[in-house]
Amino acid sequence: MAEPPLGPVLHIDWTRCDGRGLCTELLPELLARDKWGYPVAITGAPTARSDVAITPRHLDAATDAVALCPLLALTIVGSSR
């Protein structure tokens, strides 16, 4: 539970995610897949990789990812919308 950065972040609940990678397809500029298939933040400090900063132009795609993740593993935290 790292201190989330200011501004909206995409929080990954690792206890739910099974690494099929749907989110990485929707957010290729924010998330890559690690060698086991799990989403990994492309930028940001290594210790903040459970809370991926969302830039405004990715907010819609991030919202889609939250809605489409089959395991409800994603949440947007700190959004003003």
Partner: protein
């Protein structure tokens, strides 16, 4: 709050023996004789200010300032909305190299109970819990039966696992009977057990609260240093005549602690400080003291006060590999990077330890640590990666030797039938 208004002839403990000054297996009578009763005047919200003045930090591992955590819970509680907080005394030390919490619950359970009652009163708690593994909880329960003011404490037995003492696992265990960490986007002090503001404090932290509630912040600060005031418990194990729990001032040097345990310093290769999620400190640096400032240059923290001593004759890579194996087996297997990454790390380190000379091993291990850090619902992957990185850097010369087919510690080729 007056820290000195103590009933009768009770004097605050002098010297380094504070927590155990009521003696071995102290019952309520011995406890009262040593410390006196907890005055009702100390069971108030003003205790938070006294805790702030004392500078007490958590003794369970993270070392967070106690007053700030208590203050956060108070801020998030709201009596009108029935959001009165919960306080949990956490005695599940989990770390195989720590016995200080079980020792404390056995010999000074009343001090822990006092601290729990005082912290509860300070935040206006609706419910108090004491969570500890099988052996220890019986001592605490028996102690609570000796006194009238402890009837409301609920005792919950902790599972014997590395991760059972992690704060969110503690809350999960009490609420759902599952001692596994949960994903959190909000702090426990805001919403924890049954969505109430929740204060989880290590039992030693609470025992110190029990003393500060009586004798005040100035007394607490009369030992230790400005930035690491008071005393703390440490467990010394490994290459030591006997595993021991010691109460030391906050800024005592590691070398002094080892010497008082009868460890010959020239026989020591390194000390693992802070437990299995900690960092190695090589023999040349053992004059470092246990305070945050003393340990930071060596990438270590005192954590739960664990000092695991490695003898000069032992191969540090073999020792580290077996610890990482243990940590991998204790992954709660909920989070992918932890579930897959930790066993891979363990087996790479084991290959290095047992004499595999593949030159890429070091780089692969480093890369693997980067793939797990920050990618779990608790700090288990981060802590395990930290230990691996510490091993590779403090024992860099051993790694080099292993990669050329030698072991510096045994003066023999490192490829042996088993480590």
């Amino acid at each position: 709050m007056s820290g000195t208004a103590v009933a009768g002839a009770i004097r605050p403990p002098g010297g380094l023996n504070r927590l155990f000054s009521a003696g071995q297996d102290a019952d309520y009578r011995a406890h009262l004789a040593a410390f006196g009763a907890l005055a009702p005047s100390s069971l108030t919200p003003e205790l938070v200010d006294e805790l702030a003045r004392s500078g007490l930090s958590g003794r369970g591992g993270a070392g967070f300032p106690v007053a700030r955590k208590v203050g956060a819970v108070s801020r998030h509680s709201d009596r009108l909305w029935a959001r009165s907080p919960v306080v949990i005394a956490n005695g599940a030390e989990g770390e195989p190299r720590s016995i200080k919490d079980s020792t404390l619950l056995r010999h000074a359970p009343h001090l822990v109970i006092d601290g729990l009652l005082a912290a509860g009163a300070a935040v206006g708690a609706s419910k108090l819990y004491l969570y500890a593994p099988a052996g220890s909880i019986d001592y605490a329960r028996a102690a609570a039966r000796e006194r009238k003011d402890a009837r409301s404490i609920v005792f919950v037995e902790a599972k014997d696992s590395f991760i059972s003492g992690e704060a969110s696992a503690v809350v999960n265990a009490i609420e759902n009977g599952i001692a596994l960490p949960t994903d959190r986007i909000v702090r426990l002090t805001t919403t924890g057990l049954r969505r109430l503001p929740t204060l989880v404090h290590n039992v030693e932290t609470l025992a110190q609260v029990g003393l500060i509630a009586r004798f005040g912040a100035a007394w607490f600060r009369s030992l230790g240093s400005e930035r690491d005031p008071g005393t703390r418990l440490v467990t010394v194990s490994g290459f030591v005549p006997q595993e021991r729990v010691l109460e030391v001032a906050g800024h005592t040097s590691i070398a002094d602690i080892l010497e008082s345990c009868g460890v010959p310093l020239d026989g020591v290769a390194a000390v693992l400080v802070g437990g299995y999620h900690g960092a190695w400190i090589a023999r040349d640096n053992l004059t470092a003291n246990l305070s945050a400032g003393g340990l930071a240059p060596h990438g270590a923290r005192s954590g739960a006060g664990i000092l695991y001593v490695l003898g000069r004759h032992e191969c540090p890579l073999v020792a580290s590999a077996s610890i990482v194996h243990y940590l991998a087996s204790e992954s709660a297997r909920q989070c992918g990077p932890c579930l897959f990454g930790l066993p891979e790390m363990a087996s790479l380190l084991e290959r290095l330890a047992t004499g595999d000379r593949e030159q890429g091993l070091r780089r692969q291990l480093e890369a693997l640590t980067q793939s797990v850090i920050g990618r779990g619902s608790c700090h288990h992957p981060d802590g395990t990666a930290g230990l691996v990185l510490s091993t590779l850097s403090v024992f860099a010369a051993d790694v080099d030797a292993h990669l050329t087919g030698r072991c510096l510690r045994t003066a023999q080729p490192s490829r042996r039938s088993n480590g």
